[in-house]
């Protein structure tokens, strides 16, 4: 079975619980914290993935790291995942939960890649334009990529809005390499 289907089931069950208790916002913050920690710490991820380390130790470790910062229910959810030996896909489950929450709240995560650091006014302008276009709340993440030469790329889910100089040059190169008959 694919990871997607498994992680969706765990995330969805916790998501429904959160909705029932009307604590989606609070739980969302907890999960976000866990997700961010996991994505930043390679060590933590490899510990969770390691089959040699006992599940009891993993549970202890998780409660020591997050115990004081998250709610009891969230902590129990983590224990539950470990108890079901699915701690190796912990990060995917968290991501899936955040996706479900974003869907519910009408938030779209967008990656904005530009060649140089954008000024705040430009950022604000861009976000408001994107919100108008998508009709949803845009949650931007900014990246800088010198390879773009100029311009920017916005990716909203699978769709790319490409206004980079690099892409223009690529298109131009392609156009010229096409044979055209005289």
């Amino acid at each position: 079975m694919s990871i997607y289907r498994i992680s969706y089931r765990y995330a969805n069950s916790f998501f429904q619980l959160a909705e029932e208790k009307k604590l989606l916002k609070k739980y969302g913050e907890d999960i976000e914290l866990i997700f961010n920690t996991l994505s930043q710490s390679k060590e933590l991820r490899s510990v969770l993935r390691n089959p040699v380390i006992k599940q009891k130790d993993k549970k202890n470790l998780l409660s020591k790291i997050f115990g004081s910062k998250i709610r009891k229910e969230t902590s129990e959810f983590l224990d539950f995942i470990v108890g079901k030996s699915r701690e190796d896909i912990m990060m995917e489950i968290m991501k899936e939960f955040l996706n479900l929450r974003d869907d519910k709240e009408g938030i779209v995560r967008t990656g904005i890649t530009s060649s140089v650091d954008l000024t705040d006014s430009v950022k604000k302008d861009l976000v408001s334009k994107l919100e108008k276009r998508t009709g949803k709340k845009v949650k931007p993440e900014y990246y800088v990529d010198k390879n773009l030469i100029g311009g920017f790329i916005v990716n909203i889910n699978d769709t790319m809005l490409d206004a980079s100089v690099k892409h223009q040059l690529d298109l131009l190169r392609k156009k010229f390499s096409e044979e055209i008959s005289i």
Binding site: S2, I3, Y4, R5, N155, N157, D158, T159, M160, L161, D162, A163, H167, Q168, L171, L172, K175, F176, E178, E179, I180, S181, I182
Partner: protein
Amino acid sequence: MAEIRPDEVSAILRKQLAGFDNEVDIYEVGTVLQVGDGIARVYGLSNVMASELVEFPNNVTGMVLNLEEDNVGCVLFGESSLIKEGDTVKRTNRVASFPVGDKLLGRVVNPLGEPVDGKGTIQFDKYMPIERKALGVIARQPVKEPVQTGITAIDAMIPIGRGQRELIIGDRQTGKTAIAIDAIINQKYTHTEEAKKFGIKPVYCVYVAIGQKNSTIAQVVAKLEEQGAMAYTTIVAAPASSPAPLQYIAPYSGATLGEHFRDSGRHSLVIYDDLSKQAAAYRELSLLLRRPPGREAYPGDVFYLHSRLLERASKLSEDLGGGSLTALPIIETQQGDVSAYIPTNVISITDGQIYLEPNLFNAGVRPAINVGISVSRVGGNAQIKAMKKVAGSLKIDLAQYRELEAFAKFGSDLDKATQKILAKGARLVELLKQGQYTPIPVEKQVVSVYIGTNNFLDSVDVKDVKRFEKEFHEFADLKYPAIYENIRSAKELKDDTVQLLKKAVEEFIEKFNKG
């Protein structure tokens, strides 16, 4: 080509730049999760369509075949070693399609329509999707015009009509391709002024080579060029070296081109050489896509694979221009086993089959057609009247001959009547032998069959039958050309023509037996 002037160069550049806008480009992407064996699994591409073309890096294109819950299965039309995990995949918003147009005639292209003959780019009219739904009942009419293959045995006994699907089936090395090539060569006549005068419309040919050696394809091209047949023929080549997905789509590409001619009120003949290799290619990629295997490890939809292709053969109603697409699929059997999965499937789909046998081939009967079990279910309506008249008794005579042939092998004394049937049968079999690349026009076929079935060959030795036929045609061409002309123009065998023919044969037999 004259020298390129500087202004021409800049004109071209301007032309190329004209279509270039520097607006924001919006496209949809996915990420390669897994790649190998000509298959890529892609994450993302959430809006992609089934059988849509997608672009991978390094100019590799792919086609979407599987749409799953969390990933998209694509087949690659290029080297899978050029693609890495994590590469970006772009949608093209275009389902797999094939360029069509008259400029494709005389060219060799791959199943994506890219030329592979080194003669430069092709100016095509438009792209048509390679998978098109076959026409319904209203759009069709019964098959009524013949496709003359130029092979007497076929045109007389297993006639093929325009819009028919006739299977050519046989073991390897029994001359399956030879029949198809002869049929293409014989269409040359339909492109002449003379044919136009008699109301015979030109037939455009498409030869789809699937899983064949490149050398074989080159040979076919050379032969067709030599015979002047490339002018009205396109070759769609998916050689054995090409990836399985290309071999899989090749017949659909060929059918799309055939439909282009059909839909513009013209006639086309499409040869799929051969569909057993296509089925094997489809099996390969189905298994790689983890579709469950069925009988002989073919996937469950292998019947649909061929039925949807061959259903596209059709004769359009007069309202839609009366064009036609004739399909000649070829199937290679193993040790004459026609009850294997793919042969039975295709036999049941087509309107008849031409069965070739290695025994006959080795006995020198070439084309090695077993006329006993070969049939054409609709072509009879399409035969010209003259042929219909003379071919009726030919079938009966040969059937009687086969029945008695087995007895004759015991060498026992046979009565007069039996001996007569055997003698006639042997002469008819001899008469139906024919060399490769030597199609015979229909009026000559009619005359030959007439001579054979009306006992004129009784006084001729079996070994002299072919010589007799050849020399008679030469003789009649010179002295009684009216015979051929009458058959050609009237398309039937009138009494006065029969009288003339009788006179000519009697006159010639006398001469022949003397010399």
